[in-house]
């Protein structure tokens, strides 16, 4: 009897970061056990043990060894199961550097700006923040056109690293449009990214992994209520 590789993923259904390893594992046809953490409750023993430094999801546990940070996990999956499925990162060093650069842009600048604009009570800060978010989308549109070279994804014919990184936020963008009427995925401004977003959501590796938009809408609404009541308690 051979060793079966044990793959576990700790996540939270809503988290875009937790969606990323799920897509990567699907791309590589890797079976895994999924453990849902309690979003508003206490963190599980397993999570605290596997990620003592940050205590955050997602965590991939492969043969009892934890791997942390969503994009690190995606690279790990790509390298470990490199014989299965398409390569997630491009092969040329310059293209790899580009993929890493734009994903750092999304995670370190673009999404934090969106989060800040969503939370702030100041109208001025919100307006300024949303301008930054829209500006970022224009830059990403340009990057997409140059990197995809006419193919459906940043990764070319198949979903790749940058698709996973930015794509994990598409659900939130669509949900915010339904909830707030905020049209960030505006075909008149970023036509290529809009088309890409729909291609991404309908891809087989993404369908059933990304939460349903209506569920996200409901959840975002709940988050807002919780934030309001927290404020009124002070």
């Amino acid at each position: 009897m051979g060793d079966t590789e044990e793959v576990k993923l700790l996540g939270v259904w809503f988290s875009p970061y937790a969606i990323r390893p799920k897509i990567a594992l699907r791309l590589k046809s890797v079976d895994y056990d999924y453990f849902e953490e309690d979003l508003f409750g206490s963190k599980s023993e397993l999570l605290l043990k596997s990620n003592p430094v940050h205590k955050k999801v997602p965590v991939l546990i492969h043969n009892n060894k934890p791997i942390l940070e969503s994009l690190n996990i995606v690279e790990y999956i790509d390298e470990t199961w490199n014989a299965s499925g398409p390569s997630i990162l491009p092969s040329h060093p310059h293209d790899r550097a580009q993929a890493r650069f734009w994903s750092a842009f999304v995670d370190d600048k673009w999404f934090p700006a969106l989060k800040a604009a969503a939370i702030t009570k100041s109208e001025e800060a919100k307006e300024k923040g949303m301008k930054e978010v829209e500006g970022g989308l224009l830059q990403l549109e340009e990057a997409f056109v140059s990197i995809s070279k006419g193919k459906p994804f940043f990764g070319g014919e198949a979903i790749g690293f940058m698709d996973i990184c930015l794509g994990s936020f598409v659900g939130i963008l669509k949900a915010r449009e339904k909830l707030k009427g905020e049209k960030l995925l505006d075909e008149s401004k970023i036509p290529f990214l809009c088309k890409w977003a729909n291609e991404f959501l309908s891809d087989d590796t993404v369908k059933n992994v990304v939460p349903e938009i209506d569920k996200v809408v409901e959840f975002l609404g709940e988050l807002e209520v919780r934030a309001q009541s927290a404020v009124s308690k002070t």
């Binding site: 430094v53 060894k65 690190n72 996990i73 390298e79 310059h94 790899r96 550097a97 890493r100 650069f101």
Partner: protein, 227 residues
Amino acid sequence: MASDEVKVIGAWASPFVMRPRIALNLKSVPYEFLQESFGAKSELLLKSNPVHKKIPVLIHADKPVCESNIIVEYVDETWSASGPSMLPSTPYDRAIARFWAAYIDEKWFPSLKSILKAEGEEEKKAVLAQVEEGNALLEKAFNDCSKGKPFFNGDHIGYLDIAFGCFLAWLRVTELAGGHKLIDEVKTPSLSKWAERFCNDPAVKPVMPETATLAEFAKKIFAKPPA
């Protein structure tokens, strides 16, 4: 026709700029260093890094690569035949190296910077405690990653050594200013020895600023304007 030439846009005092320079030295790749003047950004920088307008930028065969750790991986992959690998060989060890490099940039270095900016004893104490907690984590990480070898990456300087080691000059400046040792033989014995080895390595020495020179520079940039 794009030549194969390599340029690095940077500034001597920036720890982030040191990273690609050390990487290029380790791979024996000659490059032209284009020093940015303090306070002004060159045309070339703005053209090569329009998104962030920040140093370092590596330009190879006329194509720019931005973000220091990304540049280090690019150098490692492009000149893979010219020197030992800067990242470990197994996917798991690579993930660990990337994890700690991110921790250093996102948590450790910001708290180190706060020491120099801290006002009042309370604030200073709190930030110091944060840095020391980080150092304890990194001491353990070093012992786990190095497995008894001289560097985080094993026998040779690698990605994580560079990611952390680039801050050593600023660490020494902070220690001088605060009169408080942060990495020493008692609290962080492994890191203390590693720091010595790293700073004396021929790939690092030419690009690591002298502590005294950096301290002078720090005084200038952190100088409070007259009240």
